[in-house]
Each structure stands twice: as C-alpha cells, then as structure tokens.
Symmetry: D2
Subunit: 346 residues, 4 copies
C-alpha cells in the first residue's frame, strides 16, 4: 500500500510499504477513508520524534472501513465504518476498563505513528490492535469527517475544557487558536460558558473564534482587557492549548482566586517555574494531561449528531494522501489559512 | 399607596392601602418599578389560597428602588435598584447561610403575597424584611425587566433543569410550556442539552419552544416520537413544570434507565401513585422542590448579562398596575398569547 | 453434578443435573467453591418467581475456579479464582461499557437462577456467559468468602448508600438490618457518616448494628428519637433495604428538607402512594434501583483488602450444599441468628 | 489587658496593651478563654513577618465569650461562647457570601495577628470585626478546646484532604505530621481512605500517625515502600503539609496517573520547578490554597460532636498565656513532644 513515511526532519514521503496485517486474533485491519494531521505531528515533523526509527508511517487520526478481523474480535465485523482513536489500550486493564485508554497500564505503544512499533494511519490502511477496544463504530448521524475530527482534536478540546471546571455561567479563556483551541471555544460554550476570551497572535484564527462567539484578543492586550472587563476579578477558567512555558504562565495569570487552569498543549518542560506562592494565595487548581477519546464519546456523539458541535468547520484543506508532504508544509507554515488538514487516499 | 388586593376567588382589586413601613431596623421599603404575575398566583386567584385572610396584597415578583432602610441594614442604601426574590429568609439560620433561603428554619412568612402576614409586591411599594438577605442589588448589565424575571421564574426554571441532572450531551424533556417551562428549555440548552423535547397542548407555546431550538410536541404524540427517535432508549432527563399527577406520571415514562425526573410544578397530591416497581427496575432518580433564588444568581447573572439567557423574551404583556384585574383575567384565560404579565405602577 | 433445584414454593432440592457447558466461545465454566443465599432468593422460594420454569438451579452469588474457557475469552484462564456477580451483561453495549451491567441493553437473562435460561450458581459448577465481562478475578488480599459477599450483598449495600448522597458528616438512617442493611451501616460509616440510625424490629439484628457503631432503634421508636436527637431537623439520608410500601413511606418521613431517600429493597408496588406535596415542599431526592456489581468493585476491593470493610462478619452459617434445603428453611424463618448463609459444595 | 506581643525574631513578650474596643457597630469584643499557636505563627516568630509593625499582638486561633457587641451585630449577644476563625471577611462580598471568607474581596486585614491593623488573639481579649460573619457560636456537644482546634488547624487539614479528591476507597499520602498533618490523616480516614501513608522524619510524630491507623514512613523509605505496596501504581492522592519545594516535588512523585496533589503547607516559592512534562504525561491535578473555616464547619461540627474526629488529642501542652514565650520556644524546638500548644489567659 501507499503511506506517508518519516525519514527525518521535514522529510515525510508518500511511498509504498507493506500492507498491514493482524498480529493477533484480536486485531483488525481498517482501510483508511480519510486521515488528518494533528498539531502534535509537527513534533515528529520537526525531527523531535519519540523514537529513533526511520521509515515508519506517521499519523494518528483516521477513519475508514473494517476489511479484516481476527477471530477474537466480537464487536466489529468486515464492512463496519469505524473511527480509530489516537491512543490504543489493551482493553483489559484497570485503566482501559475505566475508559481511560490513554493511561493503559500496559502501554501497548500508546499512540499510532510514533515509531515502527505501531505504524501510523496516514496510509491506505492501518492495523488496529485489540480492535474491540480501539476502533469505534461511527454511529448514524455522524459523518466520516466529523468522526475523524473526534479521533483526537475534538475529544482533546472537550477534555481540556472539562478539566478547567467549566460550568454553566463560567468565564473562560482559551489560549492558542489552532484547531483544538477553536474546538475548545465551541466546547466551552456548549458547557455553558457565558463568555470565552480566545487568545492568539494570528488575526485569521481570532476571526474564526469571533465567529464562534468568543471575544478574540491578541496576547499582548488580553490581560489588561480581561482585568478591565472583570473589574480586576479575572476569569473562572483558563485552557492552555499551546504547549510552552510562556503560555502556561500566562494562563495562571488569567484566573481568579479559586479558579482552574487546564493545560492540554503538549508539554516538554521538566522544570516549569511555577508561581507557587501566588497560586497558594489564590487557591488555584492546575490540571494537565491528555484525553482518552472513548471516555469523551458518550457526550460528543449526540452533540455532533444534533449539530451543537460542528468540528468539521475547522477543516481548511482536503487533499489527496499523495500530496501529504505538501500538506505538512502548508500546515507547518500556517499558509493558506491552514487549520485542520484532511488527507484522502487517492 | 395603591395595590392589588385579594377579596376572594377571581376577585383581585386595585385599591388604596396603608403604605408599607419597616417593622424592624433590618427591614427596608422598596418602591416598586415593575412586578409580574406568576403561575402560582393563580392558586390564590382561584380561591385556593394559603390563608383565610382577606384584603391582603398579592404578588411575589417585583423590582424597584430602595426608599427606606433601617439602621441595621448594611448592604443596601436608599436609591439602590434591587430585585426582590419571591421567598424570604431570616438570613442567619443554617439554611439561609447555605443560600437555601426558601427552606429557612424560621420560615418568616416564606413568600410574599400569600396572607396579611407578609404583604405582596403587586403594589406601589413593599416592605422587605431582613433586607440584607432578601433584596439583591441589580448588577450592571442586567435590566430591571430581566431582574424581574429572575425573582422567581428563571431561577425556578434553572433549578428545575439542574435538578434533572442535565449535563453536556444530555437529552431532555420539558413538560409544560408556560413561562417557566419555556425558560427551562433555554436553560437546558445552556447546560449543554443536545436535544430538548418541549411538550404542551397549546400550539402557540410549542411555537415559542421551537423558536428556542426545541422539538415541540403535543402530549399525545410525545411518547411515541421520543421512543422512535431514541430507538426505544428514551431520554436522560425530564422536567415537569405543570403540577398534576398525570404530568408527573408522564415524566416518569419518558426517561431511560438511570435517568432523572425533576418536578417543579406546584404539587398538591398527597398520594401520587408512584410506579415504584418500574422505577426500581430502571434505577431512576426523582427530585422535586422549589428553588432558592439567591442560590441560582451566581450562574444566572453572567448568563443574562452576556445574553445567553434572555428571559424577558417571554414577557407577553406590559400593563399598568391599575389594570391588574384584567391582567389576571387574561393570564388565567391564556388569552392574547398571555405568558409573562408585567405590571407597572401608574 | 449436584445442585439446588427449584420445584415450587418452599421446595428446593439438592439433586443431580447436567454439568454446565459453554454455549459460545466467549463462555466459561466455573467450579463453585462457595455460594450463598440472598434475601431476594426468598421471592423464588416463596413461589413468586420470575418464570414458570420448574427444576432450574437457583442462586446468584458464587465464587470458584475457572475450569473451562472458550477460545473467545481473553481475560481469564483455567485455574483463575473468580467471583461471579449476580447480574450478567453482554459486555459490549453502551450500558455494559459504562460498567452498568445490570442495565445491559440486551438483557441476557439478567440474573442467574431465575429460570432455566440462565441456570443458578447454588451448584457444583456454573456456566458464565461472556465470561470476560461477567467473571472477575479475585485480587490478592481478598478471601474467597469476602469475594462471595461482594457478588451481590456488599455491592448492593454500597450502591444504596452512595445513592443516598451520603457524604462526610452526613446523618443516615438504614431501614432493615438483614445482611445488606448491616453492610449498609458499615458502608455509611466508611463514607463519613457521623451517625447512623439502624432500624429493625429484630433485637439480634439491632445488636449487630450497634456493634458496628450505629444507634439501633425499633421502628416504633425511631421517628420520635430521631426528631428529638436532631431537634426536629431529621436526617440527611435514608436507605431503605426492605422492599415494602410501609418502609419506603417511613424512609420519606425520616429525612430533612433537601435530603435524599435511597431505596434498594426489591420493590413490587405499582402504585406506591407517594407523598408528593410534602416531598415538593421539602425538596427531596428519591432514588431507587439495583446495583451493577462491577461498577462498585474499584472502591470495594481496596476497602476490603485493607480491612475497612469486613462483609464476612455477617456470615452466620457455613453449611454443605447438600443441606441447602435446610439452609433455606433457617434463612426464611430467621432461626438460629440466620443472616448470610454460605453453602459449600460437598 | 495582657497579651503576647511581637518585638522581633524570637522575641514575643507577655505584656500589657490597650483593651480592644469595637471600631464599628458591627464589631464585637471577645474575652479569650483559650488560644493556640499555629505552625504559621513561626513565620512571624522567625522575623519573616507580613508587616514591618512592632509591638502588635500575635496569634489567630482563639475561643472565648462575647463581652461586647455593637448595635449592628444581629447573630451574637453578650455571653455567647464563640470560636474565632483565623481569617476575617467583610461578610457581604461575593466571596464571603459564598462562604469563602479567606478570599474576601475587600481583604479586611485577612488574618489576625500579622500586624497592628488587626491585632492577634493570643491575648486576654480580642476585637472581632463584622462579628456576625467572623465569630461562630460553639454548638452544643463541641468543647471549647475542640472549637479552638477548628479555628484553623482541623479546618485546614480537612480542606487539604478534600482538595486531594479523596473519596471512599482512595489511597492517600500525607507529607508532614505536625498537628495539621496528623489531623489530615484522621480526615482522610473519615472520607473513606482505605490506606494512608503518613510521612515525616520525626519518630514521635510517626508514632501518632500509626496510632491513628496510618502506615507511617520516614521520607527516605516512603517512595520505595509505596511503589512496592502498589506494584508501581502509586497513590490516588497526596497532601503536602510542610511548605517546601522539596516536599511539593515529593508529593508529585507519589501519585498515580490521574491522581491529585493537594498542597496546604504555606508556600513562598515564586519559581517552583514544576515537572510539567511528567505531570502532562500522567494527567495530574495540582491544587493549593488556604481554607475558609466557615466553609468547612457544616461537615466538621457533627463529626466532632459524634466523636469521629477528635482534634483535641493533638494538644500536647496547656500553658498559661503568661508563659507564651516559653511555649513558642518549645514549639519551635519541637521539644517535649510539642504539637498543638494551647495557651490559657491567667
């Protein structure tokens, strides 16, 4: 089959590779109908990957059709339309049974497309290990593109907003307006936020947040404006979707006493200078982590089915998989309004 | 001053009566700028009052301006614009301190306009006992009419929806589409409902619910339609806003296993035939009661300020207080699209 | 094999019957090491069963060793020590995935020992359908007798107390002091109750509740005593463990405004006369249903391992399975201090 | 009157000073019956105070009898036995009304005994500003010494454990076994912890924790032992009660993925090196702050009345107020088993 393979920094190639095959009776193979590029794929694209492997297939967001199932697969059959959440779990351990697949006690490679151990899904087909746990049938009323958005981006956004203790009537900041940040804006409104401050230096992204009902601000003006609007009280909740020390620190400045900061940007800082004295005086809650997609689906499916959430509106490009390298380039450069990049096998 | 006074079934008169005066240093007097008629006022209007008194002033929803405060009032001053929540509390007992004024351990007459003990507020002025606890300054960005809607109707609607365990992604039924039911529809969406079934026999009211985004149904068709839409699973939550055995029973039929029924219609049944066997098999939660207005305001104020909730849209009539008798007549008859009736002292 | 079989009211016989065998590749067979009699087994024993079948094996509480697994069973192997929760689920539907096995959308016979469709476990061996979902490995530090207590009784007690909204500092009533009621007393203390009123007419049972730290009362004196102790305020929470209209009504009289009543006694009333007017005035929550054992285990396992819960202390009898008929007789008559009756295959 | 006054590092003197008097009609004066020394008093004692003032009266934990009330005080009268929570609030702002007195929007001096602005309560008498909000009647069944323990220490411990998301069945670490840490151990058990690891280098303090049911460990052995006991999984919750970077870092090492760390030790670090990458991978919650005493009392009063919590058992010394300087010396040196030091006006 053809797939996008990693060969080094900014070197992703559309090439042939072996067709995927089940490695156990519990695996399935899914023919990919569409896949997409995630902000965290840029870590790999920049050569700061999570393994030393070369030539592995990248990507961890995909939907498609089941074309092969092992004898130990009970909940799926050939022909089923499925979405493939980004992280895999064993389906049997305490974490998986609690729905927290991303913290599976046995790891299982954790995420597609990080190494040769668990090949990615920016390909014509992909092996899904322990498929009963790791592929989810797309329900009626959810389009394949919507399901694709839920394999990682929308679920992460939703989880990040939940983690910020957003409740009906809350005031919320979202820092960083890539696709996940924009979906976080929408999620905050669905959870009842009365106001969302959406913060990003890029005007085009702010315009999208504004269209979603947010007050969109450049980072340089955000703190003053929020102080003024709230008469110094600041906000109930802040969601950080960038993954830098500066933005985490900024989030901690935006919340009121007893407020909550939720950090979902990928964090690589080992010694973030946390303002502990101030946080102690203010009684803050600070929460960080990655989502488990299956845990979020019972709320997300009906919200997407009913049209309250429309994650597909943040798809900026639909391109053939064969043009994957160009898609990566555009996405990294944020050219042409690049937001969510969908790739379709040719 | 002039006021609406009760003289028997369907006999409410606009007449002079003594000006209100403080009875303790903790009381205040408020000049009424607007008051409104509540569905529960009809109980009195029908002569099924809560006392034997004659000639007392009716009404428990009002906003206005503070014109007199006792020396023991600390949080209000003459000239403050205030809303007067329907139920009064002592402000000092365990329930009041917990914000649950309507369950005040010392009762204090509990609600305006039920007897001569605590005169109502459909008048040119009203005494507010223990004013620090029982009058609330109208914050910037909330109009007096919006504040009026929050003295009872919106707070009750919001509480009823909260009590139904509505969460982001829930499916909800609202039974009864008077002003409180309609506000419950809006509240359910703000809390994240993905769908609201709004049920009432009156087509005009269903049209308003539809405009608010609900699927509006006649009671006769509701159960079948809900079963069909949910493939037999039924709904997560139901809110009963009528106050009859039949509608409570109906609510209990609409929810799925482990669902919740919230009953906020005024209930007078002493032996409601509860389907206990079925509720046990399904694992239902059943919750009923009246709200404490102050408890709901921290969420409601910002939602109204930001325009996410617009309770004033359910005001159908604005009439002079002197035409109060006619307003009651229209409201009871549901004539002329009567919904929320606002009365303004002449 | 030998088993206890039902032949009519008060006619349970220890007899031979066919050995159990898997009906699908996902089933397992468990050699029973111990089983027990549940209060709800008396419904069948009294001839008010849930089917017309004759000769089926009774019982739904058992522990033992896996002796056979189908090829589709992944989480169990021959030799594993397991507990078998009372209700079975498909393991794949929305309810089962959420851990609420007892509300499985496909029913699957729901509970062992009610008919010939799903033979009971008061036997030398038992078939466990979809064993990955319906048998649970007994973890280190939990004895087989403790595990047996968790297949139904302790899980039900714990769920019932949770459903009563018991929180640290709560005051709680438990009505009915059979094994589940006594375990509810213990559960309430673990959840932080500051006082538990344990109510039952039988002095021996009250003595056990007292030994567990409760204030034990005869039903005739309970209401007065509780009113007096709480200066009329009454209790935060009440748990009904009997299953009669009278005790449910009694529970509703014991709780304070905004209190919660949880009903876990098996309810067969179709028109329970619910005091709706009073419940509305007081703002009560009323919750009923049966537990899903797997849902409760993450909390219960460590509490039993650490000795904070010792459900085995309520085992009054350990008898050979061959004397099952006599065990039923003693249990029904509440003779010889009969509480939890454990039967061990000969 | 006589009082303990601050004159510099390790220089607290028992001396005469002006009798306290109301500064507004809402103030009261309380004759102190007993007061106590808090770990945070050592900050002042060490000369790292919160003001430049000299000669002010120290201390923020006291109980006594009301001897004077202003005309604007409604809930207290002369002769009432009261406890005086450590932090004062205005009683009228949004935070105070929500029960979060320590985050009062108007500050009001925040805590007794930090400066001349709000004199401390290690004295024969103390002024209580806005007494309705800032003094609490001691209820029946709570001794004055128990009430004294609740003015800060027990309330802080309880809040810290709540903030760690301790639930029935949780595993918990408490780091630091001064009086608050020991009360946190007790609190964790009341909230349903199945195991508490109590960590401190001082053997006498570990012995007290062991007597309370904890597994007491020296810091050097704690991580290995916890890893071993939990098979590498680590704990659900950790409570830090020391106030150093090292112990906060340690707490973050003790919890499992999706666990919670609660920090209640007084924190003065402005750039604590937070292990953000690890916290992100593990999905941790980190919560810090100080308690609002009134917020915790509804749960604490009944737990103390019923004997489930016995905070007075951690009183190591009862000394005359005139020996306050010696009490401070012993407490700082941790001599003679010094834990909670109670001072009684002579």
């Amino acid at each position: 089959m053809k797939a996008l393979r990693y060969y080094g920094a900014r070197d992703v190639r559309y090439e042939g590779m072996d067709d995927p095959a089940p490695q156990s009776v519990r695996d399935a193979v899914v023919k990919v109908e569409a896949c997409s590029i995630c902000g965290s794929d840029l870590h790999i694209y920049h050569g700061h990957g999570f393994s030393e492997d070369i030539g592995f297939c990248v990507g961890h967001e995909a939907v498609g059709e089941v074309v092969e199932v092992g004898s130990g697969v009970h909940r799926l059959k050939v022909g089923d339309k499925v979405m493939i959440p980004a992280a895999v779990g064993c389906g049997s351990c305490r974490a998986c049974l609690a729905g927290v697949v991303n913290l599976c006690e046995f790891g299982q490679g954790s995420c597609y497309g990080l190494s040769a151990k668990l090949q990615g899904s920016q390909a014509e087909a992909v092996r899904v290990p322990t498929a009963d746990a790791n592929a989810v049938k797309v329900p009626d009323g959810v389009s394949m593109e919507q399901a694709l958005m839920m394999t990682d981006a929308l679920a992460t956004a939703w989880y990040g907003v939940r983690n910020a203790d957003v409740a009906p009537g809350s005031s919320v900041a979202v820092i960083g307006l890539g696709p996940i940040g924009l979906m976080a804006v929408d999620s905050a409104f669905v959870m009842g936020a009365h106001v969302v401050y959406a913060i990003d230096p890029i005007p085009e992204r702010r315009a999208l947040a504004e269209a979603a009902g947010a007050i969109a601000l450049h980072p340089d003006e955000a703190l003053d404006r929020i102080r003024q609007d709230t008469k110094g009280r600041k906000l109930d909740c802040a969601v950080e979707v960038v993954g830098s020390d500066a933005t985490v620190d900024f989030a901690l400045r935006l919340v009121r006493p007893r407020g909550t900061v939720s950090v979902i940007g990928v964090q690589q800082s080992r010694r973030f200078p946390f303002p502990l004295e101030r946080a102690f005086a203010a009684g803050l809650t600070f929460r960080t982590g990655t989502c488990s997609v299956p845990e979020e689906l019972p709320a997300l499916f009906p919200l997407v089915q009913s049209g309250r959430l429309k994650p597909e509106k943040y798809i900026s490009h639909r391109m053939p998989l064969s043009e994957g390298a160009e898609a990566y380039r555009l996405f990294e450069a944020r050219e042409a309004g690049a937001l969510k990049m969908v790739l379709v096998p040719d």
